[in-house]
Symmetry: C2
Subunit: 294 residues, 2 copies
Amino acid sequence: MGGKQANGLAGGYLDWMEISYLGPEGTYSEEAALGRAEQLAPERPRLVPVATIPAAVGTVEEGDAEEAVVPIENSLEGVVTHTADLLIHQTRLRIRGEIVLPIHHCLVLQRGLALPDVRVVYSHPQALAQCRRYLARRLPLAEPVASLSTAGAVGDMHGSERPAAAISSLRAARLFGAEVADRDIEDVRSNRTRFVVLAATDAERTGCDKTSVCFDFGEDAAGILHGALGELASRDINMLKIESRPDRRSLGRYFFLIDVEGHREDPAVREALAGIRGRASIFKVLGSYPTGKV
Amino acid sequence: MGGKQANGLAGGYLDWMEISYLGPEGTYSEEAALGRAEQLAPERPRLVPVATIPAAVGTVEEGDAEEAVVPIENSLEGVVTHTADLLIHQTRLRIRGEIVLPIHHCLVLQRGLALPDVRVVYSHPQALAQCRRYLARRLPLAEPVASLSTAGAVGDMHGSERPAAAISSLRAARLFGAEVADRDIEDVRSNRTRFVVLAATDAERTGCDKTSVCFDFGEDAAGILHGALGELASRDINMLKIESRPDRRSLGRYFFLIDVEGHREDPAVREALAGIRGRASIFKVLGSYPTGKV
Protein backbone atom coordinates (compact mmCIF):
# COMPACT_ATOMS: atom_id res chain seq x y z
CA MET A 1 0.00 0.00 0.00
CA GLY A 2 1.01 3.63 -0.37
CA GLY A 3 2.40 5.34 -3.42
CA LYS A 4 5.85 4.92 -4.87
CA GLN A 5 8.25 7.75 -5.51
CA ALA A 6 11.71 7.80 -7.05
CA ASN A 7 14.46 8.08 -4.46
CA GLY A 8 17.22 10.02 -6.22
CA LEU A 9 19.98 9.10 -3.78
CA ALA A 10 19.61 5.35 -3.92
CA GLY A 11 18.34 5.22 -7.50
CA GLY A 12 15.52 2.98 -6.23
CA TYR A 13 12.01 3.38 -4.87
CA LEU A 14 10.70 4.11 -1.43
CA ASP A 15 7.18 3.37 -0.27
CA TRP A 16 5.36 6.46 0.93
CA MET A 17 2.23 6.42 2.97
CA GLU A 18 -0.58 8.18 1.14
CA ILE A 19 -3.69 9.81 2.60
CA SER A 20 -6.55 10.80 0.32
CA TYR A 21 -8.97 13.57 1.20
CA LEU A 22 -11.93 15.43 -0.27
CA GLY A 23 -10.18 18.16 -2.26
CA PRO A 24 -9.31 20.58 -3.68
CA GLU A 25 -6.31 21.96 -1.80
CA GLY A 26 -7.16 24.79 0.56
CA THR A 27 -10.49 23.33 1.76
CA TYR A 28 -11.22 22.54 5.39
CA SER A 29 -10.92 18.86 4.40
CA GLU A 30 -7.29 19.46 3.48
CA GLU A 31 -6.75 21.08 6.89
CA ALA A 32 -8.16 17.94 8.49
CA ALA A 33 -5.80 15.78 6.40
CA LEU A 34 -2.90 17.97 7.55
CA GLY A 35 -4.12 17.43 11.11
CA ARG A 36 -4.03 13.67 10.51
CA ALA A 37 -0.48 13.95 9.13
CA GLU A 38 0.50 15.70 12.38
CA GLN A 39 -0.99 12.86 14.43
CA LEU A 40 1.22 10.45 12.45
CA ALA A 41 4.52 12.39 12.90
CA PRO A 42 7.38 11.67 12.42
CA GLU A 43 5.89 9.76 9.49
CA ARG A 44 5.37 12.19 6.59
CA PRO A 45 2.45 10.96 4.51
CA ARG A 46 1.70 12.32 1.08
CA LEU A 47 -1.75 14.00 0.85
CA VAL A 48 -3.77 13.29 -2.27
CA PRO A 49 -6.91 15.31 -3.06
CA VAL A 50 -9.82 13.47 -4.71
CA ALA A 51 -13.13 14.77 -6.03
CA THR A 52 -15.74 12.93 -3.95
CA ILE A 53 -16.20 11.07 -0.67
CA PRO A 54 -16.81 7.71 -2.43
CA ALA A 55 -13.62 8.30 -4.46
CA ALA A 56 -11.67 8.84 -1.23
CA VAL A 57 -13.01 5.56 0.16
CA GLY A 58 -12.17 3.87 -3.15
CA THR A 59 -8.49 4.85 -2.97
CA VAL A 60 -8.15 2.91 0.30
CA GLU A 61 -10.27 -0.05 -0.82
CA GLU A 62 -8.10 -0.44 -3.90
CA GLY A 63 -4.80 -0.04 -2.06
CA ASP A 64 -3.81 3.27 -3.64
CA ALA A 65 -3.88 5.05 -0.29
CA GLU A 66 -3.53 3.80 3.25
CA GLU A 67 -6.04 6.19 4.79
CA ALA A 68 -8.85 8.48 3.69
CA VAL A 69 -9.90 11.60 5.62
CA VAL A 70 -13.57 12.46 5.07
CA PRO A 71 -16.03 14.79 6.83
CA ILE A 72 -18.75 13.07 8.84
CA GLU A 73 -20.54 15.93 10.66
CA ASN A 74 -21.37 19.52 9.77
CA SER A 75 -19.07 20.12 6.85
CA LEU A 76 -19.26 22.89 4.29
CA GLU A 77 -17.88 20.72 1.54
CA GLY A 78 -19.89 17.74 0.42
CA VAL A 79 -23.06 16.04 1.52
CA VAL A 80 -21.88 14.58 4.77
CA THR A 81 -24.80 12.29 5.52
CA HIS A 82 -23.31 10.21 2.70
CA THR A 83 -20.27 9.34 4.81
CA ALA A 84 -22.39 7.68 7.49
CA ASP A 85 -24.48 5.85 4.90
CA LEU A 86 -21.33 4.68 3.16
CA LEU A 87 -19.93 3.34 6.43
CA ILE A 88 -23.17 1.55 7.28
CA HIS A 89 -23.89 0.02 3.89
CA GLN A 90 -21.11 0.13 1.37
CA THR A 91 -17.62 -0.36 2.72
CA ARG A 92 -15.64 -2.65 4.97
CA LEU A 93 -13.27 0.14 5.93
CA ARG A 94 -13.04 1.02 9.62
CA ILE A 95 -12.68 4.32 11.45
CA ARG A 96 -9.05 4.55 12.60
CA GLY A 97 -9.05 8.12 13.88
CA GLU A 98 -10.93 11.41 14.06
CA ILE A 99 -10.06 15.08 13.63
CA VAL A 100 -12.29 17.80 15.08
CA LEU A 101 -11.70 21.08 13.26
CA PRO A 102 -12.98 24.44 14.48
CA ILE A 103 -14.33 26.29 11.45
CA HIS A 104 -13.12 29.89 11.28
CA HIS A 105 -13.70 31.99 8.21
CA CYS A 106 -11.51 34.85 6.94
CA LEU A 107 -12.41 37.78 4.76
CA VAL A 108 -9.82 38.11 1.99
CA LEU A 109 -9.50 40.90 -0.58
CA GLN A 110 -8.00 41.48 -3.98
CA ARG A 111 -4.56 43.03 -3.52
CA GLY A 112 -4.67 46.75 -2.74
CA LEU A 113 -8.44 46.87 -2.42
CA ALA A 114 -10.10 48.71 0.51
CA LEU A 115 -13.14 47.25 2.27
CA PRO A 116 -15.56 50.06 1.29
CA ASP A 117 -14.78 49.48 -2.40
CA VAL A 118 -15.79 45.80 -2.42
CA ARG A 119 -18.79 45.14 -4.70
CA VAL A 120 -18.94 41.34 -4.75
CA VAL A 121 -18.07 38.64 -2.21
CA TYR A 122 -17.50 35.02 -3.22
CA SER A 123 -17.86 31.85 -1.16
CA HIS A 124 -19.61 28.52 -0.74
CA PRO A 125 -23.31 29.33 -0.07
CA GLN A 126 -23.13 27.83 3.43
CA ALA A 127 -20.08 29.96 4.31
CA LEU A 128 -21.91 33.04 3.00
CA ALA A 129 -24.87 32.05 5.21
CA GLN A 130 -22.61 31.54 8.23
CA CYS A 131 -21.22 35.09 7.86
CA ARG A 132 -24.47 36.82 6.96
CA ARG A 133 -24.55 39.21 9.93
CA TYR A 134 -20.90 40.16 9.41
CA LEU A 135 -21.50 40.87 5.72
CA ALA A 136 -24.60 42.97 6.44
CA ARG A 137 -22.58 45.08 8.88
CA ARG A 138 -19.25 45.41 7.06
CA LEU A 139 -20.05 44.87 3.39
CA PRO A 140 -23.68 45.97 2.99
CA LEU A 141 -23.13 46.96 -0.66
CA ALA A 142 -21.38 43.79 -1.79
CA GLU A 143 -23.34 41.19 -3.75
CA PRO A 144 -22.87 37.62 -2.46
CA VAL A 145 -21.90 35.21 -5.27
CA ALA A 146 -21.63 31.44 -4.90
CA SER A 147 -18.42 29.43 -5.34
CA LEU A 148 -18.03 25.65 -5.38
CA SER A 149 -15.89 25.65 -2.21
CA THR A 150 -14.31 28.11 0.21
CA ALA A 151 -10.99 27.39 -1.52
CA GLY A 152 -12.47 27.97 -4.98
CA ALA A 153 -13.81 31.32 -3.74
CA VAL A 154 -10.28 32.76 -3.56
CA GLY A 155 -9.69 31.87 -7.22
CA ASP A 156 -13.08 33.30 -8.20
CA MET A 157 -12.14 36.52 -6.39
CA HIS A 158 -8.78 36.77 -8.19
CA GLY A 159 -10.55 36.27 -11.53
CA SER A 160 -13.34 38.78 -10.83
CA GLU A 161 -13.62 41.92 -12.95
CA ARG A 162 -15.54 43.74 -10.22
CA PRO A 163 -13.79 44.76 -6.96
CA ALA A 164 -14.08 41.49 -5.03
CA ALA A 165 -13.66 39.83 -1.63
CA ALA A 166 -13.96 36.16 -0.66
CA ILE A 167 -14.72 34.15 2.44
CA SER A 168 -12.21 31.34 2.91
CA SER A 169 -10.09 29.56 5.48
CA LEU A 170 -6.84 31.16 6.64
CA ARG A 171 -4.97 28.32 4.93
CA ALA A 172 -6.63 28.93 1.56
CA ALA A 173 -5.85 32.65 1.85
CA ARG A 174 -2.16 31.88 2.38
CA LEU A 175 -2.06 29.07 -0.16
CA PHE A 176 -3.50 31.24 -2.91
CA GLY A 177 -1.74 34.48 -1.94
CA ALA A 178 -4.75 36.52 -0.88
CA GLU A 179 -4.72 39.50 1.49
CA VAL A 180 -6.45 38.72 4.80
CA ALA A 181 -8.64 41.68 5.80
CA ASP A 182 -10.36 40.12 8.80
CA ARG A 183 -10.43 36.86 10.76
CA ASP A 184 -13.08 34.82 12.61
CA ILE A 185 -15.89 36.54 10.77
CA GLU A 186 -18.46 33.74 11.29
CA ASP A 187 -21.63 34.83 13.12
CA VAL A 188 -21.61 31.83 15.44
CA ARG A 189 -18.27 30.88 16.93
CA SER A 190 -18.84 27.27 17.96
CA ASN A 191 -18.91 25.78 14.44
CA ARG A 192 -16.90 22.61 14.17
CA THR A 193 -16.57 19.91 11.57
CA ARG A 194 -15.69 16.37 12.54
CA PHE A 195 -13.66 14.25 10.13
CA VAL A 196 -12.96 10.53 10.34
CA VAL A 197 -9.89 8.63 9.17
CA LEU A 198 -10.90 5.49 7.26
CA ALA A 199 -8.54 2.55 6.79
CA ALA A 200 -8.50 -1.23 6.36
CA THR A 201 -8.30 -1.70 10.14
CA ASP A 202 -9.15 0.47 13.12
CA ALA A 203 -6.70 1.66 15.81
CA GLU A 204 -4.91 -0.02 18.71
CA ARG A 205 -5.98 0.68 22.28
CA THR A 206 -4.47 3.90 23.71
CA GLY A 207 -6.48 4.29 26.94
CA CYS A 208 -8.30 7.38 25.65
CA ASP A 209 -10.45 5.92 22.93
CA LYS A 210 -13.93 5.93 21.53
CA THR A 211 -15.86 3.34 19.57
CA SER A 212 -18.49 3.89 16.86
CA VAL A 213 -21.10 1.22 16.24
CA CYS A 214 -24.29 0.98 14.22
CA PHE A 215 -27.20 -1.39 14.47
CA ASP A 216 -30.63 -1.60 12.90
CA PHE A 217 -34.10 -1.61 14.35
CA GLY A 218 -37.62 -1.94 13.04
CA GLU A 219 -40.93 -1.20 14.72
CA ASP A 220 -39.96 -1.27 18.38
CA ALA A 221 -37.25 1.37 18.31
CA ALA A 222 -37.71 2.61 21.88
CA GLY A 223 -37.71 -0.94 23.23
CA ILE A 224 -34.61 -2.10 21.32
CA LEU A 225 -32.68 1.07 22.09
CA HIS A 226 -33.76 0.90 25.73
CA GLY A 227 -32.30 -2.60 25.96
CA ALA A 228 -29.13 -1.58 24.12
CA LEU A 229 -28.55 1.42 26.37
CA GLY A 230 -29.12 -0.78 29.41
CA GLU A 231 -26.04 -2.74 28.31
CA LEU A 232 -24.03 0.50 28.40
CA ALA A 233 -25.60 2.07 31.51
CA SER A 234 -25.23 -1.05 33.64
CA ARG A 235 -21.47 -0.99 32.92
CA ASP A 236 -21.05 2.78 33.39
CA ILE A 237 -20.01 3.25 29.78
CA ASN A 238 -20.50 6.83 28.66
CA MET A 239 -22.38 7.47 25.43
CA LEU A 240 -20.95 10.40 23.44
CA LYS A 241 -23.38 10.64 20.56
CA ILE A 242 -26.49 8.99 19.18
CA GLU A 243 -28.31 9.41 15.91
CA SER A 244 -31.02 7.49 14.10
CA ARG A 245 -30.91 7.26 10.32
CA PRO A 246 -33.41 5.84 7.86
CA ASP A 247 -32.25 2.69 6.07
CA ARG A 248 -31.94 3.82 2.45
CA ARG A 249 -32.69 0.34 1.17
CA SER A 250 -35.72 -0.54 3.20
CA LEU A 251 -38.57 1.84 4.03
CA GLY A 252 -39.62 1.87 7.69
CA ARG A 253 -36.31 0.42 8.93
CA TYR A 254 -33.77 2.52 10.76
CA PHE A 255 -30.20 2.47 11.96
CA PHE A 256 -28.75 3.83 15.16
CA LEU A 257 -25.27 5.32 15.07
CA ILE A 258 -23.75 5.44 18.56
CA ASP A 259 -20.35 6.62 19.82
CA VAL A 260 -19.26 5.37 23.25
CA GLU A 261 -16.23 6.02 25.41
CA GLY A 262 -13.63 3.26 25.39
CA HIS A 263 -12.03 0.75 23.02
CA ARG A 264 -13.86 -2.30 21.71
CA GLU A 265 -11.19 -4.42 23.40
CA ASP A 266 -11.84 -2.90 26.83
CA PRO A 267 -13.58 -5.70 28.76
CA ALA A 268 -16.66 -3.66 29.73
CA VAL A 269 -17.10 -2.29 26.21
CA ARG A 270 -16.65 -5.75 24.71
CA GLU A 271 -19.35 -7.20 26.96
CA ALA A 272 -21.75 -4.33 26.30
CA LEU A 273 -21.30 -4.57 22.51
CA ALA A 274 -21.88 -8.34 22.65
CA GLY A 275 -25.11 -7.62 24.52
CA ILE A 276 -26.25 -5.10 21.91
CA ARG A 277 -25.27 -7.43 19.08
CA GLY A 278 -27.61 -10.05 20.55
CA ARG A 279 -30.56 -7.64 20.36
CA ALA A 280 -30.14 -6.31 16.80
CA SER A 281 -30.41 -8.14 13.49
CA ILE A 282 -27.60 -6.11 11.90
CA PHE A 283 -24.71 -4.90 14.05
CA LYS A 284 -21.43 -3.38 12.88
CA VAL A 285 -18.45 -1.96 14.77
CA LEU A 286 -17.35 0.98 12.62
CA GLY A 287 -14.10 1.23 14.57
CA SER A 288 -12.26 2.10 17.79
CA TYR A 289 -9.88 5.05 17.68
CA PRO A 290 -8.19 7.67 19.86
CA THR A 291 -10.51 10.51 20.89
CA GLY A 292 -9.67 13.59 18.78
CA LYS A 293 -8.73 16.87 20.41
CA VAL A 294 -10.09 20.12 19.04
CA MET B 1 -52.01 38.18 13.10
CA GLY B 2 -51.66 37.75 9.36
CA GLY B 3 -51.07 40.44 6.77
CA LYS B 4 -53.57 43.03 5.64
CA GLN B 5 -54.52 43.58 2.04
CA ALA B 6 -56.83 46.13 0.46
CA ASN B 7 -60.18 44.65 -0.44
CA GLY B 8 -61.27 46.60 -3.50
CA LEU B 9 -64.91 45.58 -3.38
CA ALA B 10 -65.66 46.64 0.16
CA GLY B 11 -63.16 49.47 0.25
CA GLY B 12 -61.88 48.03 3.52
CA TYR B 13 -59.30 45.52 4.67
CA LEU B 14 -59.39 41.76 4.99
CA ASP B 15 -57.05 39.77 7.19
CA TRP B 16 -55.08 37.19 5.26
CA MET B 17 -53.18 34.35 6.81
CA GLU B 18 -49.49 34.68 5.99
CA ILE B 19 -46.87 31.95 5.92
CA SER B 20 -43.21 32.91 5.74
CA TYR B 21 -40.58 30.60 4.26
CA LEU B 22 -36.89 30.55 3.46
CA GLY B 23 -36.83 32.14 -0.01
CA PRO B 24 -36.34 32.97 -2.76
CA GLU B 25 -39.28 31.76 -4.88
CA GLY B 26 -38.59 28.54 -6.74
CA THR B 27 -36.58 26.88 -3.96
CA TYR B 28 -37.53 23.58 -2.37
CA SER B 29 -38.51 25.62 0.71
CA GLU B 30 -41.17 27.36 -1.36
CA GLU B 31 -42.44 23.95 -2.49
CA ALA B 32 -42.76 22.97 1.15
CA ALA B 33 -44.67 26.18 1.90
CA LEU B 34 -47.00 25.36 -1.01
CA GLY B 35 -47.43 21.90 0.53
CA ARG B 36 -48.40 23.56 3.80
CA ALA B 37 -50.91 25.77 1.97
CA GLU B 38 -52.48 22.61 0.52
CA GLN B 39 -52.79 21.11 4.00
CA LEU B 40 -54.71 24.24 5.05
CA ALA B 41 -57.17 24.29 2.10
CA PRO B 42 -59.73 25.77 1.61
CA GLU B 43 -57.88 28.55 3.41
CA ARG B 44 -55.59 30.33 0.94
CA PRO B 45 -52.63 31.72 2.84
CA ARG B 46 -50.25 34.23 1.33
CA LEU B 47 -46.66 32.93 1.08
CA VAL B 48 -43.92 35.39 1.98
CA PRO B 49 -40.26 34.60 1.19
CA VAL B 50 -37.65 35.78 3.74
CA ALA B 51 -33.85 35.64 3.59
CA THR B 52 -32.91 33.48 6.61
CA ILE B 53 -34.31 30.90 8.99
CA PRO B 54 -34.12 33.27 12.01
CA ALA B 55 -35.97 35.90 9.93
CA ALA B 56 -38.72 33.37 9.21
CA VAL B 57 -39.05 32.65 12.93
CA GLY B 58 -39.05 36.39 13.63
CA THR B 59 -42.04 37.03 11.36
CA VAL B 60 -44.16 34.72 13.53
CA GLU B 61 -42.78 35.94 16.85
CA GLU B 62 -43.64 39.51 15.87
CA GLY B 63 -47.08 38.68 14.57
CA ASP B 64 -46.37 39.47 10.92
CA ALA B 65 -47.04 35.89 9.86
CA GLU B 66 -49.06 33.13 11.42
CA GLU B 67 -46.74 30.30 10.46
CA ALA B 68 -43.17 29.82 9.25
CA VAL B 69 -42.04 26.86 7.13
CA VAL B 70 -38.35 26.04 7.65
CA PRO B 71 -36.17 23.05 6.76
CA ILE B 72 -35.06 20.89 9.68
CA GLU B 73 -33.33 17.91 8.03
CA ASN B 74 -31.21 17.45 4.93
CA SER B 75 -31.92 20.64 3.05
CA LEU B 76 -29.94 22.11 0.20
CA GLU B 77 -30.75 25.64 1.18
CA GLY B 78 -29.49 26.92 4.50
CA VAL B 79 -27.64 25.44 7.44
CA VAL B 80 -30.36 23.25 8.83
CA THR B 81 -28.76 22.37 12.15
CA HIS B 82 -29.61 25.97 13.03
CA THR B 83 -33.33 25.19 13.01
CA ALA B 84 -32.98 22.59 15.76
CA ASP B 85 -30.71 24.87 17.80
CA LEU B 86 -33.17 27.71 17.39
CA LEU B 87 -36.04 25.52 18.61
CA ILE B 88 -34.05 24.31 21.60
CA HIS B 89 -32.59 27.62 22.71
CA GLN B 90 -34.04 30.69 21.14
CA THR B 91 -37.75 30.64 20.49
CA ARG B 92 -41.03 29.83 22.19
CA LEU B 93 -42.64 28.86 18.91
CA ARG B 94 -43.98 25.31 18.60
CA ILE B 95 -43.98 22.81 15.76
CA ARG B 96 -47.53 22.77 14.34
CA GLY B 97 -46.93 20.58 11.30
CA GLU B 98 -44.39 18.93 9.04
CA ILE B 99 -43.88 18.54 5.32
CA VAL B 100 -41.67 15.79 3.90
CA LEU B 101 -40.52 16.69 0.40
CA PRO B 102 -38.84 14.24 -1.98
CA ILE B 103 -35.95 16.08 -3.64
CA HIS B 104 -35.86 15.57 -7.41
CA HIS B 105 -33.57 17.61 -9.61
CA CYS B 106 -34.16 18.59 -13.24
CA LEU B 107 -31.68 19.51 -15.92
CA VAL B 108 -32.81 22.71 -17.64
CA LEU B 109 -31.30 24.36 -20.72
CA GLN B 110 -31.18 27.74 -22.37
CA ARG B 111 -33.90 27.89 -25.01
CA GLY B 112 -32.99 26.11 -28.24
CA LEU B 113 -29.75 24.66 -26.86
CA ALA B 114 -28.87 20.98 -27.45
CA LEU B 115 -27.30 18.87 -24.70
CA PRO B 116 -23.97 18.29 -26.51
CA ASP B 117 -23.43 22.04 -26.85
CA VAL B 118 -23.62 22.79 -23.11
CA ARG B 119 -20.33 24.17 -21.74
CA VAL B 120 -21.31 25.25 -18.22
CA VAL B 121 -23.82 23.94 -15.68
CA TYR B 122 -25.05 26.07 -12.75
CA SER B 123 -26.46 24.98 -9.39
CA HIS B 124 -26.06 25.01 -5.63
CA PRO B 125 -22.84 23.06 -4.86
CA GLN B 126 -24.75 20.34 -3.00
CA ALA B 127 -27.12 19.85 -5.95
CA LEU B 128 -24.11 19.62 -8.29
CA ALA B 129 -22.63 17.03 -5.92
CA GLN B 130 -25.90 15.07 -5.81
CA CYS B 131 -25.94 14.82 -9.63
CA ARG B 132 -22.22 14.19 -10.15
CA ARG B 133 -22.56 10.79 -11.82
CA TYR B 134 -25.28 12.08 -14.13
CA LEU B 135 -23.16 15.07 -15.16
CA ALA B 136 -20.10 12.90 -15.80
CA ARG B 137 -22.16 10.68 -18.09
CA ARG B 138 -24.30 13.23 -19.93
CA LEU B 139 -22.35 16.50 -19.73
CA PRO B 140 -18.70 15.47 -19.43
CA LEU B 141 -17.50 18.68 -21.12
CA ALA B 142 -19.56 21.15 -19.05
CA GLU B 143 -17.88 23.08 -16.26
CA PRO B 144 -19.83 23.05 -12.97
CA VAL B 145 -20.35 26.58 -11.59
CA ALA B 146 -21.86 27.39 -8.19
CA SER B 147 -25.09 29.29 -7.62
CA LEU B 148 -26.57 30.51 -4.34
CA SER B 149 -29.63 28.25 -4.64
CA THR B 150 -31.19 25.82 -7.11
CA ALA B 151 -33.66 28.58 -7.97
CA GLY B 152 -30.88 31.13 -8.50
CA ALA B 153 -29.18 28.66 -10.85
CA VAL B 154 -31.91 29.14 -13.46
CA GLY B 155 -31.32 32.90 -13.46
CA ASP B 156 -27.56 32.39 -13.65
CA MET B 157 -28.08 30.12 -16.65
CA HIS B 158 -30.30 32.67 -18.42
CA GLY B 159 -27.63 35.33 -17.85
CA SER B 160 -24.71 33.17 -18.97
CA GLU B 161 -22.74 34.15 -22.07
CA ARG B 162 -21.53 30.57 -22.58
CA PRO B 163 -23.99 27.81 -23.64
CA ALA B 164 -25.43 26.89 -20.23
CA ALA B 165 -27.56 24.39 -18.33
CA ALA B 166 -28.76 24.45 -14.71
CA ILE B 167 -29.87 21.95 -12.10
CA SER B 168 -33.10 23.06 -10.41
CA SER B 169 -36.45 21.85 -9.20
CA LEU B 170 -39.25 21.30 -11.69
CA ARG B 171 -41.09 24.20 -10.07
CA ALA B 172 -38.19 26.61 -10.54
CA ALA B 173 -37.87 25.54 -14.18
CA ARG B 174 -41.55 26.35 -14.79
CA LEU B 175 -41.52 29.51 -12.68
CA PHE B 176 -38.57 30.97 -14.56
CA GLY B 177 -39.53 29.68 -18.01
CA ALA B 178 -36.66 27.26 -18.59
CA GLU B 179 -36.70 24.27 -20.92
CA VAL B 180 -36.65 20.95 -19.02
CA ALA B 181 -34.22 18.56 -20.76
CA ASP B 182 -34.30 15.76 -18.18
CA ARG B 183 -35.95 14.87 -14.85
CA ASP B 184 -34.94 12.96 -11.71
CA ILE B 185 -31.25 13.33 -12.52
CA GLU B 186 -30.04 12.89 -8.90
CA ASP B 187 -27.61 9.98 -8.42
CA VAL B 188 -29.41 8.72 -5.29
CA ARG B 189 -33.18 8.63 -5.46
CA SER B 190 -34.14 8.54 -1.79
CA ASN B 191 -33.22 12.16 -0.97
CA ARG B 192 -35.83 13.89 1.15
CA THR B 193 -35.95 17.12 3.06
CA ARG B 194 -38.15 17.51 6.09
CA PHE B 195 -39.65 20.90 6.87
CA VAL B 196 -41.47 21.96 10.03
CA VAL B 197 -44.27 24.49 10.41
CA LEU B 198 -43.61 26.81 13.35
CA ALA B 199 -46.38 28.78 15.05
CA ALA B 200 -47.39 30.26 18.39
CA THR B 201 -49.14 27.02 19.37
CA ASP B 202 -48.87 23.42 18.19
CA ALA B 203 -51.66 21.34 16.61
CA GLU B 204 -54.82 19.72 17.92
CA ARG B 205 -55.00 15.95 18.26
CA THR B 206 -55.94 14.16 14.99
CA GLY B 207 -55.29 10.52 15.94
CA CYS B 208 -52.28 10.26 13.60
CA ASP B 209 -49.79 12.54 15.30
CA LYS B 210 -46.20 12.79 16.40
CA THR B 211 -44.56 14.75 19.17
CA SER B 212 -41.06 16.29 19.23
CA VAL B 213 -39.33 16.85 22.56
CA CYS B 214 -35.85 17.81 23.66
CA PHE B 215 -34.09 17.40 26.97
CA ASP B 216 -30.56 17.88 28.20
CA PHE B 217 -28.07 15.52 29.75
CA GLY B 218 -24.58 15.77 31.16
CA GLU B 219 -22.09 13.05 32.01
CA ASP B 220 -24.33 10.02 32.30
CA ALA B 221 -25.91 10.13 28.86
CA ALA B 222 -26.50 6.39 28.50
CA GLY B 223 -28.08 6.18 31.96
CA ILE B 224 -30.40 9.16 31.53
CA LEU B 225 -31.45 8.14 28.03
CA HIS B 226 -31.94 4.55 29.19
CA GLY B 227 -34.31 5.78 31.86
CA ALA B 228 -36.11 8.09 29.44
CA LEU B 229 -36.59 5.36 26.86
CA GLY B 230 -37.89 3.05 29.55
CA GLU B 231 -40.75 5.52 29.99
CA LEU B 232 -41.57 5.11 26.29
CA ALA B 233 -40.91 1.36 25.95
CA SER B 234 -42.98 0.41 29.00
CA ARG B 235 -45.96 2.17 27.41
CA ASP B 236 -45.39 0.78 23.88
CA ILE B 237 -44.80 4.25 22.48
CA ASN B 238 -42.88 4.10 19.20
CA MET B 239 -39.82 6.31 18.83
CA LEU B 240 -39.45 7.71 15.29
CA LYS B 241 -36.15 9.55 15.52
CA ILE B 242 -33.41 10.36 17.98
CA GLU B 243 -30.44 12.68 17.77
CA SER B 244 -27.97 14.08 20.27
CA ARG B 245 -26.69 17.61 19.81
CA PRO B 246 -23.99 19.51 21.66
CA ASP B 247 -25.27 22.39 23.79
CA ARG B 248 -23.82 25.45 22.06
CA ARG B 249 -23.69 27.38 25.31
CA SER B 250 -22.08 24.86 27.59
CA LEU B 251 -19.20 22.58 26.63
CA GLY B 252 -19.66 18.94 27.60
CA ARG B 253 -23.44 19.22 27.86
CA TYR B 254 -25.74 17.71 25.29
CA PHE B 255 -29.36 17.71 24.19
CA PHE B 256 -31.44 14.83 22.92
CA LEU B 257 -34.02 15.50 20.23
CA ILE B 258 -36.62 12.75 20.09
CA ASP B 259 -39.73 12.28 17.93
CA VAL B 260 -42.35 9.82 19.20
CA GLU B 261 -45.63 8.56 17.80
CA GLY B 262 -48.74 10.12 19.34
CA HIS B 263 -49.98 13.48 20.62
CA ARG B 264 -48.80 15.00 23.89
CA GLU B 265 -52.42 14.85 25.07
CA ASP B 266 -52.69 11.10 24.48
CA PRO B 267 -52.73 9.63 28.02
CA ALA B 268 -49.78 7.25 27.48
CA VAL B 269 -47.65 9.95 25.83
CA ARG B 270 -48.53 12.43 28.57
CA GLU B 271 -47.45 9.98 31.28
CA ALA B 272 -44.22 9.07 29.48
CA LEU B 273 -43.27 12.71 28.92
CA ALA B 274 -43.95 13.50 32.58
CA GLY B 275 -41.60 10.64 33.48
CA ILE B 276 -38.85 11.96 31.18
CA ARG B 277 -39.34 15.50 32.48
CA GLY B 278 -38.64 14.22 35.98
CA ARG B 279 -35.26 12.82 34.87
CA ALA B 280 -33.87 15.82 32.93
CA SER B 281 -32.92 19.27 34.17
CA ILE B 282 -34.17 20.97 30.99
CA PHE B 283 -37.17 19.53 29.16
CA LYS B 284 -39.16 21.11 26.33
CA VAL B 285 -42.04 19.87 24.21
CA LEU B 286 -41.33 21.31 20.77
CA GLY B 287 -44.84 20.43 19.62
CA SER B 288 -47.41 17.79 18.64
CA TYR B 289 -48.56 17.74 15.05
CA PRO B 290 -50.10 15.51 12.35
CA THR B 291 -47.60 13.09 10.81
CA GLY B 292 -46.61 14.37 7.37
CA LYS B 293 -47.11 12.24 4.26
CA VAL B 294 -44.42 12.16 1.58
